[in-house]
Structure formats: C-alpha cells, structure tokens
Symmetry: C2
Subunit: 281 residues, 2 copies
C-alpha cells in the first residue's frame, strides 16, 4: 500500500491512479475557485495539484506545454495575436513567446492564485511573464472571448483543467462559437482533449461541439504526459481552414530550445491510431 509519503491521484471514473513519491508539502490553500496544493517530490521536482488532480510537475511539464503550443503555432501561417485561456502556471505562455512573430499573447486565467504560486514554485515557467508582449489577466475567459472583437485573434489555446468545475463551460458549442467569431481568417483554436485511451467519450463530444460551432477542420495531436491519467494525452485543433499543412521548414529551423518538440515529432503527433481513425471515420 502507498503510505502518506506518496501523493496519489486516484480516478474513480477510470479505475486508475498515479502517484509520485513526495518529500514534503510546500503549500496549500483554498482559493476563490479551487483547492491548490504544492508538493516537493522525490524525483519530479515540484508538483502543483488542483482539486486533487496533478496539474504540473517540474520534470515532465515540457511535454504538455510544448505540444499544446508549437504544433498550433507552426500550423498557422502567421500567428501574431495569441490568446491563452487558463494556463495560469504560465508554461504555455513561455512556449508561445519563443515564437518571434508573436506580437501579443494574452493569458486569461480566472484564478490569479495559480499564477502567484507558479511564480514561487515554478519560476522557470514564469520567465517570460515580463515580456512586453505578454498580458496576464485574471478574469473570466469565457466572457472575454464572447466580448472579443471579431477577427481579432489568430490562435486561441485552451489550456484548462478537466471538463468539470470552473472549466466545464470551455467544452461547449457556445464557447466554440465565440471562439469562431473572435478568430481571424486562418484562426485556430486548440484545446487539451484528455486521454484517447480513457476519455474517448469526451473527445467525441468535444469534436462534435467544435463541428457544431462551424469548425470544419479538426486535428488531434497525441503526446506522452506521465503525470496525467494513462500517461498519454492529447490536444485537439479546430480551424475554419485547412489544417493538413504546417510550416515544416520554420519548425525545423525554429531557432529556440525545446525538450520534446521538433518537426519530426510534429508530424508524428498527428498520426491517428487505428481505433481513433475508425471512431472518427
């Protein structure tokens, strides 16, 4: 049995659990929106937990942050204005700002406490927070997108928690319709879309809602993410226009450091497992 030297995320819905050995709890608080915990782990650096779910560890967050950012940014022909909904740990913002063509990156997380804790416990993820192109807002992202000027955003990255609690409204056709309106001509929305092994129901519903909002082009990106259920995660891109090409040459000559992503990985992440292809045929 795992004693109190382990942080356990037990998922009753899927009958799976993932645990990290911890050395101590560094912080806990009930914010206005969520219960936030920070642990020091034995081998994964620091760990942020929101409402009992692992969110980000020092050691393996690079998979998620790189794969929710670079594929979509290298797919859009010329992304200048990027909006991040959620993403309070600022790791996605950091990856987005590695792209020199990005002129503005607005990050809207409803819970300011997530960012304040990330600044203390994950300072490396926050190293671009003072970039003049970054704008951090702590307000309701759903409302912000609804009121955004039409055609004003090139990319919307929905870097949210699971579709329960504060993030539930981010998985609905109403929200995607507002995204559609706010996006420019070649605009793309990308959203974390759970595990294709454990959450096909969520993936199917999400793609159907995106379709209902007018996004005729969709593509799911697959990548490892050790601390998330099943260790295999995904993000789904939806666009008004064709998604089948990406700026491969730019990705190959990206001129910035990554740990997981490169242009080969970009292409590879789009390959559809046989069961997934059949489900969406």
């Amino acid at each position: 049995m795992l004693d109190d030297q382990w942080f356990n995320e037990a998922q009753t819905a899927t009958g799976t659990a993932f645990s990290l050995k911890i050395t101590r709890k560094l912080h806990e608080e009930q914010s206005e929106f969520q219960f936030l915990e920070i642990y020091e782990t034995e081998q994964f650096g620091n760990l942020m937990v929101i409402d009992g779910c692992t969110m980000v560890s020092t050691r393996d967050n690079f998979f998620y942050h790189e794969m929710i950012s670079h594929p979509v940014l290298f797919t859009h022909p010329n992304p200048r204005n990027v909006l991040i909904i959620g993403g309070g740990d600022c790791g996605t913002l950091r990856e987005v700002l590695k792209h020199p063509g990005v002129e503005s990156a607005v990050q809207i997380d409803i819970d300011e406490r997530v960012t304040r804790l990330a600044e203390i416990y994950f300072p490396e993820l926050c190293e671009s927070n003072n970039d003049p192109r970054a704008d951090l807002k702590f307000i309701d992202g759903i409302k912000w997108v609804k009121e955004a000027a039409p055609n004003s955003v090139d990319i919307i990255i929905v870097d949210s928690t699971d579709p329960v609690g504060p993030a539930e409204g981010l998985f609905s056709a109403d929200f995607y319709k507002d995204c559609y309106k706010a996006l420019s001509e070649n605009g793309i929305v990308v959203q974390q879309s759970e595990s294709a092994l454990l959450h096909m129901k969520i993936l199917k519903e999400m793609r159907a809602e995106m379709q209902a909002a007018g996004f005729n082009h969709q593509q799911t990106v697959f990548f490892p993410q050790c601390i998330y259920p099943s260790g295999w995660w995904s993000a789904t891109m939806a666009s008004k226009s064709d998604l089948s090409k990406f700026r491969e040459q730019d990705a190959t000559n990206k001129g910035f450091e990554t740990v997981y992503y490169n242009s080969d990985i970009h292409k590879a992440s789009l390959a559809m497992p046989e069961f997934f292809k059949k489900a969406f045929a």
Copy 2:
C-alpha cells in the same frame, strides 16, 4: 490513500507509482522463477503481475504487443523465421502470426507457468498458440540463441521483463553477439527498452551493448503503454543492415486487424524527441 481495493506498483527507483482498481485476486503462485499474480480489475479486464510489476492487462496490452511486432516485421524485407524470447503471455506470438509470410515462430519463455496462466486468464492472447507455424518452448532462451545455427533466424523479438532477475542476461553484449550470429543477412533484433523519460541510462547502455555486438543500425520505436511506468514505452531495433526504410505499402494494405498500429503510426513511432536525438547524436 489507496486501500487494498487497488493493485499498486510502486517504483522506488523512479519515485512513481501506478495503480489499478481491482475487484478481486484471481490467482497467485510462486513458480520456479517468479511470483505470479492475476487480478480482476474494475476497468482494465484481467491483470498479470510478475514479481510485483504489472505485465499485461486485457484492456491496454494491444499497444505493446502490436508495437513490438509490426514495426520490426514490416521493416524486414521478407521475414520468414521469427524467434520470440520471453513473451510467455503469447500476445506477441499472436501479432507475429498475423503476417502470412511468416513460416515459423518459435517462442521461448523460461517460465511455462506464465503461458499456462495466460491460456486461462488471457485466452484472446493465446488464440494462435495452436497455429501450425507456432512452436512454444519452455527453456532458457539465452542458451538457445547461443546454440542456434548461424543465419537461421530473420527476426528476434526480445519480449522480456525489466533488466533484473531472469531477464538480466538479455540486456548484455554477449547475448546480442549470439543474436548477431543467429540472424540472417537482413536480420533484426528488437527488444523492449523501457521508458525514455525514466530509464535513459538503461537505453544508453543497451544501445551501447548492441553496438559492441556489431549492430551498426539502431532505431527506437516509441508508443503509449498505460500500465508501464510513465505510460510511455519503447522498443529498440538493431540490425546488421539499414533500418531507415520499411515496407510501407505492405503495412498500409496489411489485411489484418490492429487496434493501435497502422502505417502512419509506424512512421510516427520512429520520430525522435529532441532530448533523445541529442542524447544519441
């Protein structure tokens, strides 16, 4: 905390643990070689555990069995004689025998009890055990390879447990030298090679030992495997000859069912993460 309704595999070496919710223990025994347990899980079907490590579940074994078999079989120009070392659950044998060109598949697991339990608790994995091309032996695979006729085998699949206990000798240059001798001109050995997130030391040592045995061409295949540490697993191919091409047309028109593998996934599984590329540059 996780109570006794969960099977936990806690890995002290990596500070991670993975657990499945169980409904009951179906069987346990100490074989001549290992401690074997079978659980009925809530959502993953049956689970086989060897010496405390999860080996195979009904629900997610397709990743591993397909990815240790089909990439190597579609890389070799004309595989006829296949040798499986380990693989006692017979899932790899089943995948190998889906290839109509295979004339003989010899499976050598030192522990007959693994196969006898698989026949009871994983009958679907054993459905090709009576194929006339199959030959199941329960002897020492290392010794068998050492004494094999030179140039007699096209593919050797090392489907082993971790490099401790009975499988330790399967990760050494001596064993790879015997493989080299037993393999035919375009012969390939493929071996499960742990997690690139957690076990880079093992991967580096293994590839160095393969190189020392004369295998100048190596390629690592990456794939999800929920019940193994980190959820992200790998297999490494080593060959006397070029591995950079595969029979893509044959893979596309494979004519048999798979759950994960297809020709797009084949290509995708070979993409090297940036950190991996740097480690082996």
